[in-house]
Amino acid sequence: MIDTEISKQFDRRSAIFLTGGMFLTSFLVLRMLQMQVFNYKTYKKKSENNSFRIQINMAERGKILSSSGTAISHDTPIYRIYLIPEEAEDLESLVDTVAKDLKLSKKRVEKIWARIKKQQKFQPVLISENTDWQILAGLQAKNLPGLHVNSGYSRLYELGPAGAQIFGYVGTTEKGMPNTPFYTTGITGLEKTFEKTLAGTPGQTVMITNAVGRITGEDQNLFKNPIVGNDVKTTINDTIQRKLYDSLSLHKSGCGVVMNIENGDILAMVSAPSFNPNEFMGDDSEEYISQLRQDIAKPFMNKVFEGLYPPGSTFKIVVALAALEAGAVNPSETTFCPGHWDYGDRRYHCWEAKGHGKMNLAGALKNSCDIYFYQLALRIGIDAIKNMAEKLGFGEKYIQEIIPKQMTGVIPDRRWKENKIGSNWVHGDTIISGIGQGFILTNCMQLAVMMARVASNKRIIPRLLQTDKQPKFKSMGFMPQNIKSVLTGLEEVLKPGGTAAGSAINVKGLKMGGKTGTSQVRSISRAERISGVLTNEQLKWNMRNHGLFVGYAPTNKPKYVVCVITEHSGSSGSAARTASATMTELLKNEG
């Protein structure tokens, strides 16, 4: 028990506290009464007069520029009309008036009403973008409370679908800035990667409004000017970009890249089919986007980096160089191709069933003789092939800081097969690796880098952003005569009798060298081979072979490389023609 003296004291003194507490609390109550009951009207009026609206003045977004300084993506000023429901005197008649003046479709009006019901009353609802000036002036003259005009920017994509996966587009996000419904940020591609550089800093105008939402003044002290974003200067040549896209678009699906060997500049980079971000803003944008999403040819995919393909015969360049560097083959040494080769208990076929006859290295490249490369691969072994492939840049990511999403593919060896497939590496695996089939998977960018490194004997690294500094590339250290032996074969490919004979470039005095490839998407069974292999026309689109072409030009002094892949095109002809047309355009413009 607490002793009585202390207990009594507690009672006495706590009474003082309670009295004090009641006294203080009554102060609070009186103050509340004073503010909310007696002075309610004063505060209400103050709240109405004092209410202000911050209008964000959007900053002009920086441009994405081509190598020549022309804009690829840039902002263009537009006027947006929007309404704030709680400010309207009669919301229905306001929407009706606006719909009539702007000639809005019924669907659009429905969308506006859906938006009004979904949002809170003080949040803005967009009515129209790209409003014509005269109609706008007419509407403003009517002075309708609740109706607002916001001058902002709309993004224009000059190249449209050509490289849209790479340059990306802007859009509104939930995470955007508060109280700014029209604030856009980069959603994909360079627009996203360089958001901070491009975005700039929005300014603000603080408008003081009265009870019905009419603007009564502006607080000059809080005004802030927007700061324009910085430009991003790319290495893209817009003419070549368009040309590559246009010729690639003749085929259902594919990708291509053009590079300058001297500095690694990516001049063009295209994935087809594509999408046109300029059409993302209109009323029918939702239908357009859902249509794109359903397309089996995947228009949103950046196939240059994300598409993985067996390199097929283009890989013969790697095998040839590996064998030469290993000293395992003399370029003039010949192999006889009867159209097939029996090794172990299996028969390996050449694409030319009749056979090529006697083939040296140049001839084997020119005719893309499979038998020659089966035997060469077996002679040097998978480790030498893998080693060379990695030196030439397969299995790597490029400009990853700009394009984060990339697939690196597979350059297999013994350990890889044991881990991934769970069985031992056999000679048959080495043999089919010799023609770029089997487990090998590469992307378009890697093939272009390979071609660039072979053509230049330098460790070329591609770049997409312009810098003042001219990059210096290390030598690959290959024997010049070995490079020459390979390039001689590649020159033959585009000469009469070669696998890309019809695709020579059309520039006076200049020639292109290169290598075709046809990569199987499915394996052909023995039974089928006996009963007659199905022609590509008989197969479903997505079971047909891919066509590939890697090339460089001019042959006397290599400056550019090109790699084109046409998906499921059946043969390499389309890829070679696309590459040739693009290279022709490039060299012609150079004069």
């Binding site: 028990m1 607490i2 002793d3 003296e5 202390i6 004291q9 507690f10 009672d11 003194r13 706590s14 003082i16 506290f17 309670l18 507490g21 203080l24 609390t25 102060f27 609070l28 109550v29 103050r31 509340m32 009464l33 503010m35 909310q36 009951v37 002075n39 309610y40 004063t42 505060y43 209400k44 103050k46 709240s47 004092n50 209410s51 202000f52 609206r53 911050i54 809170q120 003080f122 002290n221 809080l222």
Partner: protein, 381 residues
């Protein structure tokens, strides 16, 4: 110093026995205020669970766990560990003063991995515990001796000095008031308070010029004349007053506080949450909250009064003081009755540190109530 130590052989209570003694009247108003805080935070998020309501809900559940643990624990544990808890809280205060994070011009936050904690919030409860532990076993003779107040004064004044330099005037003031209140209730001589008051008035100019940050001086100047700087320091309090006053008797309706929702009422989810309530629910809403608070105070007082052991009584009383000071300072501040100091509205404001320390307080008061008939010794045996 001779303590009048009483021994008791009271047995450990079983859980069901504790549950029977649990004070529902003390528990229910607390829960009602917590519920109200969720309602208002949902509105502060613009009619959304994000970013405040959901996050706070998790903190409420966590704090209720702390509450349950403390309420049903053995009171002897708290007697035994009072000094230890105080030491830890003091170490945290020292840490935050030297390595803490700065927010709103004050160094109050300690970042431990994924969360920020505000040690000064926990310190208030630690102080109540240690003062109750110190005075509980003093007889009426010892209690009137001046020298017996020197140690507890030091226990307060060291962290007080540190908190002032953070600078967190609101909390510093709170702990000074809690200590003063505790001294008074245990039976300190009334003359000492008079002398202390006179000393404080004399020291005021020194504090004004030597111990305060410019922004604190600004706040007081602004308080005395809010229109002197309507867009700067006075902006906050002016906006708060307009928002609150324009709520009227019935308020503007849930989610419709135009000032809080659309204009820039700063800190509407933390220190100024009462303003937002007042705008949306009006005088009626504000009175309901104030009534719930008053009910909590009366119930805490009753718990203290009916407690048959001195430790439980002092802990309850100390917590009651803490709770009252919390909401009185906060509401006075947002109504423009005192200068702006950073004190949250108890159980209502967004934030975890204050919530956990408050529910710890409610837990320990329940604990005292459950053990109110037990005789306790200073050794906690």
């Amino acid at each position: 110093m001779t303590h009048q130590i009483r021994f008791s052989n009271a047995n450990m209570m079983s859980f069901s026995e504790k549950l029977k003694r649990f004070s529902w009247p003390l528990f229910i108003p607390m829960c009602l205020v917590l519920l109200l805080s969720e309602v208002v935070l949902y509105s502060a998020g613009g009619g959304s669970w994000q970013p405040f309501a959901l996050s706070q809900l998790l903190k409420i559940f966590l704090s209720l766990g702390v509450f349950a643990f403390v309420a049903f624990s053995n009171i002897k544990f708290w007697i035994k560990s009072a000094y230890f808890i105080y030491a830890i809280a003091l170490i945290l205060i020292i840490l935050v003063t030297f390595v803490g994070h700065t927010g709103m011009g004050a160094q109050r936050w300690l970042n431990i991995g994924f969360i920020n904690i505000q040690p000064s919030e926990f310190f208030k409860m630690a102080l109540v515990l240690v003062l109750a532990r110190y005075f509980a076993w003093m007889n009426s003779v010892d209690i009137s001796k001046f020298k017996n107040y020197l140690i507890p004064f030091l226990l307060m004044v060291i962290p007080f000095a540190l908190i002032v330099t953070q600078p967190d005037l609101g909390t510093a003031l709170s702990i000074a008031l809690i200590t003063g209140g505790m001294f008074f209730i245990v039976g300190a001589n009334k003359k000492w308070f008079l002398i202390g008051g006179i000393l404080l008035v004399l020291a005021a100019p020194v504090i004004w010029y030597g111990g305060m940050h410019q922004y604190q001086r600004d706040r007081i100047i602004t308080f005395l004349n809010p229109d002197s700087d309507a867009r700067g320091t006075g902006y906050q309090i002016n906006q708060a007053k307009i928002a609150f006053g324009s709520g009227g008797i019935l308020g503007k309706g849930y989610l419709n506080g135009s000032q809080s929702q659309q204009s820039f009422l700063p800190e509407k989810q933390t220190d100024f949450i009462f303003t937002m309530m007042g705008e949306e629910f009006g005088f009626i809403g504000a009175i309901i909250l104030l009534s719930l608070y008053s009910a909590i105070i009366i119930l805490l007082f009753w718990t203290a009064k009916t407690c048959k052991n001195r430790f439980g009584q002092l802990v309850c009383f100390g917590f009651m003081l803490n709770f009252f000071i919390y909401y009185f300072i906060n509401i006075s501040m947002v109504l423009g009755l005192v200068p702006t100091v950073g004190v949250p509205l108890p159980l209502m404001s967004f934030g975890g540190s204050s919530l956990i320390s408050l529910l710890f307080g409610f837990g320990i008061s329940q604990n005292a109530h459950i053990h109110k008939d037990q005789q306790l010794s200073a050794k906690g045996s």
